[in-house]
Protein backbone atom coordinates (compact mmCIF):
# COMPACT_ATOMS: atom_id res chain seq x y z
CA UNK A 1 0.00 0.00 0.00
CA UNK A 2 1.56 3.25 -1.09
CA UNK A 3 1.38 6.22 1.21
CA UNK A 4 0.16 9.52 -0.17
CA UNK A 5 2.88 12.02 0.78
CA UNK A 6 0.92 15.02 -0.45
CA UNK A 7 -0.14 16.12 3.10
CA UNK A 8 3.50 16.25 4.23
CA UNK A 9 4.61 18.39 1.28
CA UNK A 10 1.57 20.62 1.67
CA UNK A 11 2.27 21.05 5.39
CA UNK A 12 5.91 21.94 4.76
CA UNK A 13 4.99 24.42 2.06
CA UNK A 14 2.21 26.02 4.15
CA UNK A 15 4.39 26.21 7.24
CA UNK A 16 7.35 27.62 5.31
CA UNK A 17 5.29 30.35 3.70
CA UNK A 18 3.47 31.13 6.94
CA UNK A 19 6.79 31.42 8.82
CA UNK A 20 8.17 33.79 6.22
CA UNK A 21 5.16 36.08 6.48
CA UNK A 22 5.06 35.70 10.27
CA UNK A 23 8.70 36.73 10.46
CA UNK A 24 8.07 39.98 8.60
CA UNK A 25 4.80 40.74 10.38
CA UNK A 26 6.09 39.52 13.75
CA UNK A 27 9.30 41.53 13.65
CA UNK A 28 7.41 44.66 12.80
CA UNK A 29 4.94 44.12 15.66
CA UNK A 30 7.76 43.15 18.04
CA UNK A 31 9.66 46.32 17.14
CA UNK A 32 6.59 48.47 17.78
CA UNK A 33 5.89 46.81 21.10
CA UNK A 34 9.53 46.84 22.24
CA UNK A 35 10.55 50.35 21.20
CA UNK A 36 7.63 52.64 20.67
CA UNK A 37 5.17 54.28 23.00
CA UNK A 38 1.77 54.85 21.42
CA UNK A 39 -1.91 54.86 22.26
CA UNK A 40 -3.46 51.44 22.16
CA UNK A 41 -0.15 49.67 22.71
CA UNK A 42 -1.65 47.47 25.42
CA UNK A 43 -4.66 46.71 23.25
CA UNK A 44 -2.33 45.66 20.43
CA UNK A 45 -0.32 43.53 22.83
CA UNK A 46 -3.53 41.83 24.00
CA UNK A 47 -4.76 41.33 20.43
CA UNK A 48 -1.47 39.71 19.46
CA UNK A 49 -1.64 37.40 22.47
CA UNK A 50 -5.27 36.42 21.93
CA UNK A 51 -4.62 33.55 19.45
CA UNK A 52 -2.49 31.87 22.13
CA UNK A 53 -5.45 31.57 24.50
CA UNK A 54 -8.53 31.25 22.27
CA UNK A 55 -9.62 27.78 21.11
CA UNK A 56 -8.49 27.19 17.50
CA UNK A 57 -12.07 26.59 16.38
CA UNK A 58 -13.04 30.02 17.65
CA UNK A 59 -10.16 31.58 15.71
CA UNK A 60 -11.18 29.58 12.67
CA UNK A 61 -14.73 30.85 13.00
CA UNK A 62 -13.51 34.47 13.21
CA UNK A 63 -11.41 33.92 10.09
CA UNK A 64 -14.37 32.43 8.24
CA UNK A 65 -16.43 35.49 9.10
CA UNK A 66 -13.58 37.84 8.24
CA UNK A 67 -12.44 36.18 5.00
CA UNK A 68 -15.60 34.36 3.84
CA UNK A 69 -17.07 34.96 0.40
CA UNK A 70 -19.63 37.43 1.79
CA UNK A 71 -17.11 39.52 3.77
CA UNK A 72 -15.44 42.67 2.35
CA UNK A 73 -11.99 41.10 2.68
CA UNK A 74 -13.14 37.90 1.04
CA UNK A 75 -14.73 39.84 -1.84
CA UNK A 76 -11.58 41.90 -2.25
CA UNK A 77 -9.44 38.74 -2.45
CA UNK A 78 -11.83 37.15 -4.92
CA UNK A 79 -11.79 40.33 -6.98
CA UNK A 80 -8.00 40.32 -7.20
CA UNK A 81 -7.25 36.61 -7.61
CA UNK A 82 -10.44 35.51 -9.28
CA UNK A 83 -11.14 32.73 -6.77
CA UNK A 84 -12.31 32.67 -3.15
CA UNK A 85 -9.71 32.35 -0.40
CA UNK A 86 -11.53 30.00 1.96
CA UNK A 87 -11.09 26.24 1.50
CA UNK A 88 -7.88 26.65 -0.50
CA UNK A 89 -4.32 25.87 0.56
CA UNK A 90 -3.69 29.64 0.78
CA UNK A 91 -6.31 29.74 3.54
CA UNK A 92 -4.24 27.11 5.34
CA UNK A 93 -1.32 29.54 5.19
CA UNK A 94 -3.46 32.23 6.84
CA UNK A 95 -4.48 29.69 9.49
CA UNK A 96 -0.88 28.74 10.18
CA UNK A 97 0.06 32.41 10.27
CA UNK A 98 -2.54 33.18 12.94
CA UNK A 99 -1.38 30.13 14.83
CA UNK A 100 2.34 30.99 14.82
CA UNK A 101 2.64 34.80 14.78
CA UNK A 102 1.83 35.37 18.48
CA UNK A 103 4.68 33.08 19.52
CA UNK A 104 7.07 34.82 17.16
CA UNK A 105 6.05 38.30 18.37
CA UNK A 106 6.44 37.31 22.01
CA UNK A 107 9.89 35.78 21.54
CA UNK A 108 11.16 38.48 19.19
CA UNK A 109 9.98 41.21 21.51
CA UNK A 110 11.77 39.56 24.43
CA UNK A 111 14.87 39.14 22.27
CA UNK A 112 14.84 42.80 21.17
CA UNK A 113 14.23 44.00 24.71
CA UNK A 114 17.11 41.92 26.04
CA UNK A 115 19.58 43.78 23.81
CA UNK A 116 21.56 46.09 26.11
CA UNK A 117 20.06 49.57 25.73
CA UNK A 118 23.50 51.18 25.70
CA UNK A 119 24.28 49.70 22.25
CA UNK A 120 21.20 51.33 20.75
CA UNK A 121 21.91 54.56 22.59
CA UNK A 122 25.49 54.52 21.33
CA UNK A 123 24.30 54.08 17.73
CA UNK A 124 21.79 56.94 18.04
CA UNK A 125 24.44 59.08 19.67
CA UNK A 126 26.67 58.58 16.64
CA UNK A 127 23.89 59.83 14.37
CA UNK A 128 22.36 56.56 13.14
CA UNK A 129 18.69 56.74 12.15
CA UNK A 130 16.17 54.55 14.01
CA UNK A 131 15.96 52.36 10.89
CA UNK A 132 19.74 51.90 10.86
CA UNK A 133 19.83 51.27 14.61
CA UNK A 134 17.29 48.48 14.16
CA UNK A 135 18.89 46.76 11.16
CA UNK A 136 22.54 47.21 12.06
CA UNK A 137 22.49 46.95 15.87
CA UNK A 138 19.30 45.64 17.51
CA UNK A 139 18.48 42.94 14.98
CA UNK A 140 21.99 41.47 14.61
CA UNK A 141 22.36 41.34 18.39
CA UNK A 142 18.98 39.60 18.78
CA UNK A 143 19.48 37.50 15.63
CA UNK A 144 20.00 34.09 17.19
CA UNK A 145 17.01 34.34 19.53
CA UNK A 146 14.80 35.53 16.67
CA UNK A 147 15.97 32.70 14.39
CA UNK A 148 15.28 30.20 17.14
CA UNK A 149 11.82 31.72 17.52
CA UNK A 150 11.23 31.48 13.76
CA UNK A 151 12.16 27.79 13.80
CA UNK A 152 9.69 27.20 16.64
CA UNK A 153 7.07 29.18 14.73
CA UNK A 154 7.64 26.89 11.77
CA UNK A 155 7.07 23.85 14.00
CA UNK A 156 3.92 25.42 15.37
CA UNK A 157 2.65 26.17 11.85
CA UNK A 158 3.28 22.57 10.91
CA UNK A 159 1.07 21.34 13.73
CA UNK A 160 -2.03 23.48 13.35
CA UNK A 161 -5.25 21.53 13.13
CA UNK A 162 -8.20 23.51 14.46
CA UNK A 163 -7.91 26.72 12.49
CA UNK A 164 -6.90 24.91 9.31
CA UNK A 165 -9.87 22.59 9.28
CA UNK A 166 -12.22 25.53 9.85
CA UNK A 167 -10.96 27.77 7.05
CA UNK A 168 -9.20 25.39 4.65
CA UNK A 169 -11.29 22.30 5.19
CA UNK A 170 -10.25 18.73 4.53
CA UNK A 171 -10.01 18.29 0.79
CA UNK A 172 -7.62 15.40 0.02
CA UNK A 173 -4.98 16.42 -2.49
CA UNK A 174 -5.81 20.11 -2.12
CA UNK A 175 -6.08 21.38 1.45
CA UNK A 176 -5.44 18.28 3.52
CA UNK A 177 -2.39 19.02 5.68
CA UNK A 178 -0.53 16.51 7.85
CA UNK A 179 -2.49 17.14 11.04
CA UNK A 180 -5.78 16.92 9.18
CA UNK A 181 -4.69 13.80 7.30
CA UNK A 182 -3.90 12.04 10.59
CA UNK A 183 -7.36 12.86 11.92
CA UNK A 184 -8.84 11.64 8.66
CA UNK A 185 -6.89 8.37 8.76
CA UNK A 186 -7.99 7.64 12.34
CA UNK A 187 -11.62 8.42 11.45
CA UNK A 188 -11.41 6.08 8.49
CA UNK A 189 -9.97 3.30 10.66
CA UNK A 190 -6.68 3.33 8.77
CA UNK A 191 -4.43 2.77 11.79
CA UNK A 192 -1.32 1.93 9.77
CA UNK A 193 -1.44 5.21 7.84
CA UNK A 194 -2.13 7.22 11.00
CA UNK A 195 0.84 5.61 12.77
CA UNK A 196 3.20 6.32 9.87
CA UNK A 197 2.12 9.95 9.59
CA UNK A 198 2.39 10.43 13.36
CA UNK A 199 5.92 9.02 13.33
CA UNK A 200 6.94 11.26 10.44
CA UNK A 201 5.57 14.44 12.02
CA UNK A 202 7.07 13.57 15.42
CA UNK A 203 10.49 13.03 13.88
CA UNK A 204 10.21 16.32 11.97
CA UNK A 205 9.19 18.21 15.14
CA UNK A 206 12.05 16.66 17.09
CA UNK A 207 14.56 17.67 14.43
CA UNK A 208 13.21 21.22 14.47
CA UNK A 209 13.43 21.46 18.27
CA UNK A 210 16.99 20.25 18.12
CA UNK A 211 17.79 22.95 15.57
CA UNK A 212 16.07 25.64 17.65
CA UNK A 213 18.11 24.67 20.70
CA UNK A 214 21.31 24.84 18.70
CA UNK A 215 20.37 28.32 17.49
CA UNK A 216 19.31 29.76 20.85
CA UNK A 217 22.14 31.82 22.36
CA UNK A 218 23.88 30.38 25.40
CA UNK A 219 23.98 33.79 27.07
CA UNK A 220 21.52 36.65 27.08
CA UNK A 221 23.48 38.64 24.52
CA UNK A 222 26.52 38.09 22.37
Amino acid sequence: MGIDWFPLWLSLRVAGLATLVALILGLWLAYLLANREFRGKEALDAAVTLPLVLPPTVLGFYLLVLLGRQSPLGKLYEGIFGAPLVFTWQAAVVAALIHSTPLLVKSSRAALESVDRSYERAARNLGASEWRVFWRVSLPLARRSILAAAVLAFARSLGDFGITIMVAGNIPGRTQTMAVAIYDAVEAGNGALARTLVLVISATALAILFLANRLAPKQASG
Partner: protein
Protein backbone atom coordinates in the same frame (compact mmCIF):
# COMPACT_ATOMS: atom_id res chain seq x y z
CA UNK B 1 30.25 75.84 25.32
CA UNK B 2 27.41 73.97 26.96
CA UNK B 3 24.77 75.75 28.99
CA UNK B 4 22.34 73.52 30.80
CA UNK B 5 19.40 74.02 33.10
CA UNK B 6 17.85 70.66 33.84
CA UNK B 7 15.01 69.78 36.12
CA UNK B 8 13.42 66.38 36.39
CA UNK B 9 11.44 64.68 39.11
CA UNK B 10 11.69 60.98 39.68
CA UNK B 11 8.66 59.88 41.70
CA UNK B 12 9.23 57.58 44.68
CA UNK B 13 9.09 53.93 43.69
CA UNK B 14 8.56 50.81 45.80
CA UNK B 15 12.28 50.57 46.54
CA UNK B 16 13.50 54.10 46.06
CA UNK B 17 12.73 57.45 47.61
CA UNK B 18 11.68 60.27 45.31
CA UNK B 19 14.44 62.25 43.68
CA UNK B 20 14.59 65.61 41.99
CA UNK B 21 17.40 66.56 39.64
CA UNK B 22 17.72 70.33 39.54
CA UNK B 23 21.00 71.62 38.13
CA UNK B 24 22.13 74.67 36.24
CA UNK B 25 25.65 75.13 34.93
CA UNK B 26 27.75 76.00 31.95
CA UNK B 27 31.05 74.58 30.82
CA UNK B 28 33.47 75.94 28.24
CA UNK B 29 36.56 74.26 26.77
CA UNK B 30 38.83 71.83 28.59
CA UNK B 31 37.65 69.21 31.03
CA UNK B 32 34.77 69.88 33.38
CA UNK B 33 34.20 67.23 36.01
CA UNK B 34 30.81 66.43 37.51
CA UNK B 35 31.76 65.06 40.91
CA UNK B 36 29.41 63.45 43.39
CA UNK B 37 28.48 60.25 45.21
CA UNK B 38 26.42 57.55 43.46
CA UNK B 39 22.81 58.62 43.20
CA UNK B 40 23.63 62.32 43.10
CA UNK B 41 22.34 62.75 39.55
CA UNK B 42 25.60 62.90 37.59
CA UNK B 43 24.73 60.27 35.00
CA UNK B 44 21.16 61.59 34.70
CA UNK B 45 22.63 64.97 33.82
CA UNK B 46 24.75 63.44 31.06
CA UNK B 47 21.78 61.45 29.75
CA UNK B 48 19.66 64.57 29.61
CA UNK B 49 22.34 66.41 27.62
CA UNK B 50 22.79 63.48 25.20
CA UNK B 51 19.02 63.32 24.73
CA UNK B 52 18.46 59.81 26.08
CA UNK B 53 16.11 61.00 28.82
CA UNK B 54 14.23 64.29 28.40
CA UNK B 55 14.06 66.69 31.37
CA UNK B 56 10.73 68.13 32.50
CA UNK B 57 11.86 71.70 32.65
CA UNK B 58 14.86 73.66 31.54
CA UNK B 59 16.92 74.37 28.51
CA UNK B 60 20.12 72.94 27.07
CA UNK B 61 22.28 74.96 24.70
CA UNK B 62 25.39 73.72 22.92
CA UNK B 63 27.36 76.39 21.05
CA UNK B 64 24.21 78.51 20.72
CA UNK B 65 22.19 75.63 19.30
CA UNK B 66 19.11 74.74 21.32
CA UNK B 67 19.15 71.02 22.08
CA UNK B 68 16.25 71.15 24.47
CA UNK B 69 13.85 73.80 25.62
CA UNK B 70 10.82 72.86 27.66
CA UNK B 71 9.11 76.22 27.18
CA UNK B 72 9.10 76.09 23.38
CA UNK B 73 8.91 72.30 23.14
CA UNK B 74 12.26 71.86 21.38
CA UNK B 75 13.72 68.40 21.99
CA UNK B 76 16.30 67.32 19.44
CA UNK B 77 16.75 63.55 19.07
CA UNK B 78 20.11 62.11 20.22
CA UNK B 79 21.11 61.78 16.55
CA UNK B 80 21.06 65.56 16.03
CA UNK B 81 22.82 66.67 19.20
CA UNK B 82 26.48 66.23 18.24
CA UNK B 83 27.47 65.16 21.74
CA UNK B 84 29.85 62.20 21.76
CA UNK B 85 29.02 59.78 24.57
CA UNK B 86 31.49 57.31 26.03
CA UNK B 87 29.60 54.69 27.99
CA UNK B 88 30.80 53.17 31.22
CA UNK B 89 30.87 49.70 29.64
CA UNK B 90 32.17 51.24 26.36
CA UNK B 91 29.12 49.89 24.43
CA UNK B 92 31.28 48.81 21.52
CA UNK B 93 29.08 46.82 19.13
CA UNK B 94 30.04 43.21 19.95
CA UNK B 95 29.15 41.89 16.49
CA UNK B 96 31.50 44.28 14.68
CA UNK B 97 35.28 44.48 14.57
CA UNK B 98 36.95 47.61 15.93
CA UNK B 99 37.32 48.90 12.36
CA UNK B 100 33.64 48.21 11.68
CA UNK B 101 32.71 50.03 14.89
CA UNK B 102 34.50 53.14 13.63
CA UNK B 103 33.17 52.70 10.09
CA UNK B 104 29.62 52.38 11.40
CA UNK B 105 30.09 55.66 13.26
CA UNK B 106 31.61 57.44 10.24
CA UNK B 107 28.75 56.25 8.02
CA UNK B 108 26.13 57.19 10.62
CA UNK B 109 27.41 60.71 11.00
CA UNK B 110 25.11 63.41 9.81
CA UNK B 111 28.09 64.93 8.01
CA UNK B 112 27.51 62.50 5.10
CA UNK B 113 31.13 62.05 4.11
CA UNK B 114 31.84 60.25 0.82
CA UNK B 115 33.13 56.69 1.06
CA UNK B 116 36.80 57.52 0.54
CA UNK B 117 36.71 60.26 3.12
CA UNK B 118 35.13 57.88 5.64
CA UNK B 119 37.79 55.30 4.93
CA UNK B 120 40.53 57.87 5.45
CA UNK B 121 39.04 59.02 8.74
CA UNK B 122 38.70 55.47 10.06
CA UNK B 123 42.34 54.75 9.23
CA UNK B 124 43.49 57.98 10.78
CA UNK B 125 41.59 57.30 14.00
CA UNK B 126 42.89 53.72 14.22
CA UNK B 127 46.39 55.09 13.78
CA UNK B 128 46.05 57.89 16.32
CA UNK B 129 44.64 55.60 18.98
CA UNK B 130 47.13 52.79 18.27
CA UNK B 131 44.47 50.34 17.16
CA UNK B 132 45.62 49.54 13.62
CA UNK B 133 47.08 46.15 14.54
CA UNK B 134 43.92 44.95 16.29
CA UNK B 135 41.42 46.68 13.99
CA UNK B 136 40.20 43.34 12.60
CA UNK B 137 39.30 41.95 16.00
CA UNK B 138 35.99 42.04 17.82
CA UNK B 139 35.70 43.90 21.13
CA UNK B 140 35.81 40.72 23.22
CA UNK B 141 39.12 39.78 21.60
CA UNK B 142 41.04 42.91 22.60
CA UNK B 143 42.38 44.26 25.90
CA UNK B 144 40.56 46.65 28.22
CA UNK B 145 42.80 49.52 27.21
CA UNK B 146 42.16 48.91 23.52
CA UNK B 147 38.40 48.77 24.09
CA UNK B 148 38.60 52.02 26.00
CA UNK B 149 40.61 53.77 23.27
CA UNK B 150 38.29 52.42 20.61
CA UNK B 151 35.20 53.73 22.37
CA UNK B 152 36.76 57.19 22.62
CA UNK B 153 37.90 57.06 18.98
CA UNK B 154 34.41 55.99 17.89
CA UNK B 155 32.85 58.92 19.73
CA UNK B 156 35.37 61.38 18.28
CA UNK B 157 35.28 60.23 14.64
CA UNK B 158 31.94 61.98 14.09
CA UNK B 159 33.51 65.25 15.31
CA UNK B 160 31.24 65.98 18.27
CA UNK B 161 31.07 69.48 19.72
CA UNK B 162 31.24 68.01 23.22
CA UNK B 163 32.45 64.71 24.63
CA UNK B 164 30.48 63.17 27.51
CA UNK B 165 32.19 60.50 29.61
CA UNK B 166 30.32 58.42 32.17
CA UNK B 167 32.69 57.22 34.90
CA UNK B 168 35.33 56.17 32.38
CA UNK B 169 37.78 54.93 35.02
CA UNK B 170 35.35 52.85 37.05
CA UNK B 171 36.63 49.35 37.58
CA UNK B 172 39.95 49.97 35.83
CA UNK B 173 43.24 48.92 37.39
CA UNK B 174 45.92 51.50 38.08
CA UNK B 175 47.99 51.23 34.84
CA UNK B 176 44.83 51.36 32.71
CA UNK B 177 43.67 54.41 34.61
CA UNK B 178 46.95 56.19 33.90
CA UNK B 179 46.58 55.27 30.22
CA UNK B 180 43.04 56.65 30.17
CA UNK B 181 44.14 59.95 31.68
CA UNK B 182 46.87 60.17 29.06
CA UNK B 183 44.37 59.58 26.23
CA UNK B 184 41.95 62.14 27.63
CA UNK B 185 44.69 64.75 27.94
CA UNK B 186 45.47 64.03 24.29
CA UNK B 187 41.82 64.55 23.37
CA UNK B 188 41.76 67.78 25.33
CA UNK B 189 44.96 69.16 23.81
CA UNK B 190 44.94 67.78 20.24
CA UNK B 191 41.28 67.41 19.33
CA UNK B 192 40.33 70.40 21.48
CA UNK B 193 36.95 68.85 22.13
CA UNK B 194 35.41 70.12 25.36
CA UNK B 195 34.87 67.25 27.80
CA UNK B 196 32.22 66.78 30.44
CA UNK B 197 33.22 63.89 32.66
CA UNK B 198 31.33 62.20 35.47
CA UNK B 199 33.19 60.66 38.38
CA UNK B 200 33.03 59.95 42.08
CA UNK B 201 36.80 59.82 42.31
CA UNK B 202 38.53 62.86 43.75
CA UNK B 203 41.91 62.00 42.25
CA UNK B 204 40.35 61.99 38.80
CA UNK B 205 39.15 65.56 39.34
CA UNK B 206 42.71 66.60 40.04
CA UNK B 207 44.17 64.55 37.16
CA UNK B 208 41.94 66.01 34.49
CA UNK B 209 39.64 68.74 35.63
CA UNK B 210 40.17 72.44 35.10
CA UNK B 211 36.76 72.90 36.61
CA UNK B 212 34.86 70.79 39.07
CA UNK B 213 31.13 70.80 39.77
CA UNK B 214 30.11 69.08 42.99
CA UNK B 215 26.69 67.40 42.95
CA UNK B 216 24.74 66.02 45.86
CA UNK B 217 21.17 64.69 45.84
CA UNK B 218 20.39 66.26 42.51
CA UNK B 219 21.73 69.73 43.31
CA UNK B 220 24.98 71.56 42.64
CA UNK B 221 26.59 72.35 45.97
CA UNK B 222 29.85 73.92 44.81
CA UNK B 223 31.88 74.59 41.71
CA UNK B 224 35.40 75.80 41.08
CA UNK B 225 38.91 74.61 40.34
CA UNK B 226 39.56 71.21 42.04
CA UNK B 227 42.33 72.72 44.18
CA UNK B 228 40.07 75.54 45.31
CA UNK B 229 37.18 73.21 46.17
CA UNK B 230 39.50 70.88 48.04
CA UNK B 231 41.12 73.64 50.07
CA UNK B 232 37.99 75.65 50.69
CA UNK B 233 34.88 73.47 50.71
CA UNK B 234 31.83 75.72 50.70
CA UNK B 235 29.93 73.78 53.35
CA UNK B 236 30.06 70.86 55.75
CA UNK B 237 28.14 68.94 53.07
CA UNK B 238 30.93 69.42 50.52
CA UNK B 239 33.62 68.61 53.10
CA UNK B 240 31.77 65.40 53.88
CA UNK B 241 31.48 64.51 50.14
CA UNK B 242 35.19 65.04 49.62
CA UNK B 243 35.56 62.49 52.38
CA UNK B 244 38.92 63.66 53.63
CA UNK B 245 37.99 65.94 56.49
CA UNK B 246 37.83 65.81 60.28
CA UNK B 247 34.45 67.28 61.19
CA UNK B 248 34.21 68.18 64.88
CA UNK B 249 31.43 70.03 66.72
CA UNK B 250 32.91 73.12 68.41
CA UNK B 251 31.71 76.26 70.14
CA UNK B 252 33.15 79.70 69.43
CA UNK B 253 34.11 81.13 72.84
CA UNK B 254 35.89 84.29 71.68
CA UNK B 255 36.26 86.40 68.55
CA UNK B 256 38.75 89.24 68.16
CA UNK B 257 38.37 91.15 64.88
CA UNK B 258 41.30 93.43 65.71
CA UNK B 259 43.92 90.75 66.26
CA UNK B 260 42.17 88.48 63.72
CA UNK B 261 41.92 85.60 66.16
CA UNK B 262 39.30 83.38 67.72
CA UNK B 263 39.01 80.74 70.40
CA UNK B 264 37.16 77.47 69.93
CA UNK B 265 36.11 74.97 72.58
CA UNK B 266 36.45 71.30 71.61
CA UNK B 267 35.20 69.18 74.49
CA UNK B 268 37.37 70.33 77.40
CA UNK B 269 40.11 71.76 75.23
CA UNK B 270 40.52 75.18 73.71
CA UNK B 271 41.99 76.02 70.31
CA UNK B 272 43.18 79.31 68.87
CA UNK B 273 41.97 79.96 65.35
CA UNK B 274 41.78 82.74 62.81
CA UNK B 275 39.02 85.34 62.91
CA UNK B 276 35.75 84.04 61.42
CA UNK B 277 33.82 86.86 59.76
CA UNK B 278 30.06 86.65 60.13
CA UNK B 279 30.20 84.48 63.27
CA UNK B 280 29.16 85.34 66.80
CA UNK B 281 30.53 84.33 70.16
CA UNK B 282 28.60 81.29 71.40
CA UNK B 283 27.90 79.91 67.89
CA UNK B 284 27.98 76.15 67.73
CA UNK B 285 29.71 75.29 64.50
CA UNK B 286 31.56 72.45 62.79
CA UNK B 287 35.33 72.52 62.70
CA UNK B 288 36.72 71.26 59.45
CA UNK B 289 40.36 70.20 59.20
CA UNK B 290 42.23 67.72 56.98
CA UNK B 291 44.09 64.80 58.60
CA UNK B 292 47.40 65.77 56.99
CA UNK B 293 47.11 69.29 58.40
CA UNK B 294 47.23 67.94 61.95
CA UNK B 295 50.53 67.24 63.68
CA UNK B 296 50.47 64.18 65.92
CA UNK B 297 53.25 63.22 68.33
CA UNK B 298 53.56 60.95 71.40
CA UNK B 299 52.47 62.66 74.62
CA UNK B 300 55.29 64.00 76.80
CA UNK B 301 53.64 66.11 79.46
CA UNK B 302 50.65 68.40 79.27
CA UNK B 303 49.27 69.57 75.92
CA UNK B 304 50.38 73.08 75.04
CA UNK B 305 48.43 75.77 73.18
CA UNK B 306 46.37 74.45 70.26
CA UNK B 307 47.10 70.90 71.33
CA UNK B 308 44.74 68.12 72.32
CA UNK B 309 45.52 64.97 74.23
CA UNK B 310 43.97 61.96 72.57
CA UNK B 311 44.05 58.21 72.84
CA UNK B 312 45.09 56.25 69.75
CA UNK B 313 42.42 53.68 68.84
CA UNK B 314 43.81 52.16 65.65
CA UNK B 315 45.92 52.93 62.62
CA UNK B 316 45.84 52.09 58.92
CA UNK B 317 48.71 51.84 56.45
CA UNK B 318 48.65 54.19 53.50
CA UNK B 319 51.10 54.04 50.60
CA UNK B 320 53.15 56.97 51.91
CA UNK B 321 51.75 57.69 55.34
CA UNK B 322 50.02 56.15 58.33
CA UNK B 323 46.49 57.21 59.12
CA UNK B 324 45.81 57.36 62.86
CA UNK B 325 42.36 57.21 64.40
CA UNK B 326 41.95 58.78 67.82
CA UNK B 327 39.10 58.67 70.32
CA UNK B 328 36.59 61.38 69.47
CA UNK B 329 36.56 60.80 65.69
CA UNK B 330 39.81 62.61 65.03
CA UNK B 331 42.01 61.39 62.18
CA UNK B 332 45.59 62.42 61.55
CA UNK B 333 48.16 61.40 58.98
CA UNK B 334 51.82 61.09 59.88
CA UNK B 335 54.87 60.02 57.88
CA UNK B 336 55.81 56.35 58.13
CA UNK B 337 59.18 56.87 59.75
CA UNK B 338 57.79 59.07 62.51
CA UNK B 339 55.18 56.48 63.35
CA UNK B 340 57.37 53.38 63.27
CA UNK B 341 59.35 54.63 66.28
CA UNK B 342 56.16 55.16 68.32
CA UNK B 343 54.10 52.21 67.21
CA UNK B 344 53.19 51.17 70.76
CA UNK B 345 52.40 54.57 72.24
CA UNK B 346 48.79 54.90 73.40
CA UNK B 347 48.61 58.56 74.42
CA UNK B 348 49.27 61.22 71.84
CA UNK B 349 49.23 64.97 71.52
CA UNK B 350 47.56 66.42 68.44
CA UNK B 351 48.34 69.92 67.32
CA UNK B 352 45.79 71.93 65.35
CA UNK B 353 47.71 74.64 63.44
CA UNK B 354 45.65 77.76 63.80
CA UNK B 355 45.74 78.75 60.10
CA UNK B 356 44.32 75.34 59.07
CA UNK B 357 41.10 75.75 61.01
CA UNK B 358 37.86 76.35 59.09
CA UNK B 359 34.38 76.39 60.54
CA UNK B 360 30.91 76.05 59.05
Amino acid sequence: MIQARIRKRYPPGPESAGFTLDVEFNAAGGVTVLFGPSGSGKTMTLEAIAGFVPPEEGRILLDDEILFDAASGVNLPPQARHCGYVFQNYALFPHMTLRQNLAFAAASSRKRWPRLERHRRVNEMLERFHLTEVSGRRPHEVSGGQKQRCSIARALIVEPKLLLLDEPARGLDVPLRAELYEVLRQVRDEFRTPILLVTHDLEECFELGQEMIVLNQGRIVQRGAPRGVYDQPASVEVARLLGTYNLLPVEITALDPVRKTSRLRVGVHELHGPYFPGRLRGDRVTLCVRPEELVASPADGKPGPNQLAAELLRYAERPQTIRLEFRGDIFAEVPRAAFDRNRHVKDWIIEFPSQALRVF
